[in-house]
Amino acid sequence: MDGEGARPFEPRITAFVCNWCTYTGADLAGTSRLQMAANVRIIRLPCTGRIDPLFIVKAFERGADGVIVSGCHPADCHYNAGNYHARRRFAIFRELADFLGIDPGRMTFSWVSASEGAKWRDVVNETVDRVRRLGPFTAYRELVTDPPVTRVVGKEVPA
């Protein structure tokens, strides 16, 4: 429960996926009418090699409870080696994040090819289930607490 009434907690997942493999694979999952959890917002990038760990940090800052990073299988990268760089980078980031107390269960890393619609469905469903069990990432939201608001000054902005 997320305390907002009787609605059960539905995790918010941000997915950073590469254009050539996973994005296309996710599209295939859609056109194939595969049933999957609706909690994921996809952000399309040219390649997993472009994904900066700060994207994941920003997603958590902005309210994501979990994150998926997905791209092409090794040897299939459209840009030859982007996913190899990402593989090293995220291996390091994952252990650093865990060391800082960010549960690695909140992050999923996967290789999903353009033809693996079903695998994308499985990655999404598994991630949503896992993050639902971990609960909302309130710790991140609670990092900044401002003093209470005492007065609201309204200002009309012309339409």
């Binding site: 003093p147 005492t150 609201v152 009309e156 902005v157 012309p158």
Partner: protein, 348 residues
């Protein structure tokens, strides 16, 4: 307005702190943190209280927070709403402030009330009673006596306490201090004369320098190669500004949390970083560390005194203690003073 000396015992102080806690008055004092150093921290009782050890950072962050929201904003359809925040006027007591930290407060009041009144600063100032403990005399980086203070200076303090073996001898310095004493008088006792210990003179400090002479030299030696020489070992790390009781520059940022809401914040900043004076055009009048090191000394020992009549420094020595490259302000001031006092005076 000074009353006869008053005393408070160790037990009296514990009881006072408990009463303050019950009254929801925040107590701030020097305490050890996880790496073993001492910092000014919120305290709920006296366990862990370590007066008599200079905290690694100054009292400044309790009056000018490291980061502070100025207001919040949100958008509702076509409307932009500015949300004013509760002012930081919760009552507080600083217990065991160092005189070099308390003295910084009235020095900064000058700039904080200069061209406009800095409301958050003065809200905190007015809400806080500062109880200082006289310093027995610091280490060789201390030079409060060279900038017009002493280890037992009462500047900025509402009450000045001196340990007397079984507790403290208390001296009222301001009307606010007197009111505090009256409000909590049940924890204090009048001194009967025989409890008053003669003050031991603190050891003399190494630096003897004349701030007026130093200012005159700085004002006439803007291009002196000395600034280049001291800047060579400086990393521009800003550690000196972070620990300084009187450095007060800040940056204002708008921080969106999402497209429709956020906060405007004020954050500590320092002239020691390259970005501090970079213009939007890309031009930077202080483009290397030479200009930035010069600025630090210039602002504190020439510009601020010229404008406000006070040196922007309390001689606490923290900058020298924290500098990773062993830069020592007493060395810098001593050399300037020697040149200024030399045969040609300020023209040397």
């Amino acid at each position: 307005m000074m009353t006869n000396s008053t005393l408070i015992t160790q037990e009296g102080l514990s009881a006072l702190v408990e009463d303050l806690r019950q009254a929801r008055i925040q107590v701030i004092g020097p305490a050890r943190v996880s790496d073993g150093a001492v910092e000014y921290r919120r305290m709920t009782d006296l366990s862990g209280w370590t007066p008599g050890v200079q905290p690694r950072r100054s009292l400044k962050e309790w009056f000018l927070p490291v980061t502070e929201p100025l207001f919040r904003y949100r958008k509702e359809g076509p409307r932009v709403l500015v949300e004013e925040l509760a002012p930081p006027d919760a009552p507080r007591v600083v217990l065991g402030a160092y005189p070099c930290d308390a003295a910084a407060l009235p020095i900064l009041d000058a700039v904080m009330g200069w061209d406009y009144r800095d409301e958050p600063w003065f809200a905190r100032r007015e809400a806080t009673v500062v109880i200082s403990q006289a310093c027995p005399g610091g280490d060789r980086s201390c030079f409060c006596t060279a900038v017009g203070l002493t280890p037992d200076s009462a500047a900025g303090s509402d009450l000045l306490w001196k340990p007397n073996g079984s507790g403290w001898q208390v001296r009222v310095e301001t009307a606010k201090g007197e009111a505090f004493l009256q409000q909590w008088s049940r924890h204090f006792q009048p001194a009967n004369g025989n409890h008053v210990q003669p003050a031991e003179p603190p050891p003399p400090q190494p630096l003897r320098a004349d701030p007026e002479r130093i200012r005159a030299w700085i004002e006439t030696h803007f291009e002196d190669p000395f600034w280049q020489e001291i800047s060579l070992r400086c990393h521009g790390c800003g550690g000196c500004a972070a620990v300084c009781p009187t450095c007060h520059c800040f940056d204002i940022v708008d921080e969106p949390e999402n497209p429709v809401q956020g906060a405007r914040r004020r954050n500590w900043d320092t002239c020691q970083t390259a970005l501090f004076t970079r213009h939007a055009s890309g031009h930077n009048p202080r483009e290397d560390q030479c200009g930035r090191c010069r600025q630090r000394v210039n602002h504190k020992f020439a510009i601020y005194p010229a404008r406000f009549g006070r040196v922007l420094c309390t001689g606490c020595g923290r900058c020298a203690r924290t500098c990773p490259s062993g830069q020592d302000i007493t060395e810098i001031l001593s050399r300037i003073d020697q040149w200024a006092a030399g045969p040609g005076g300020a023209g040397t």
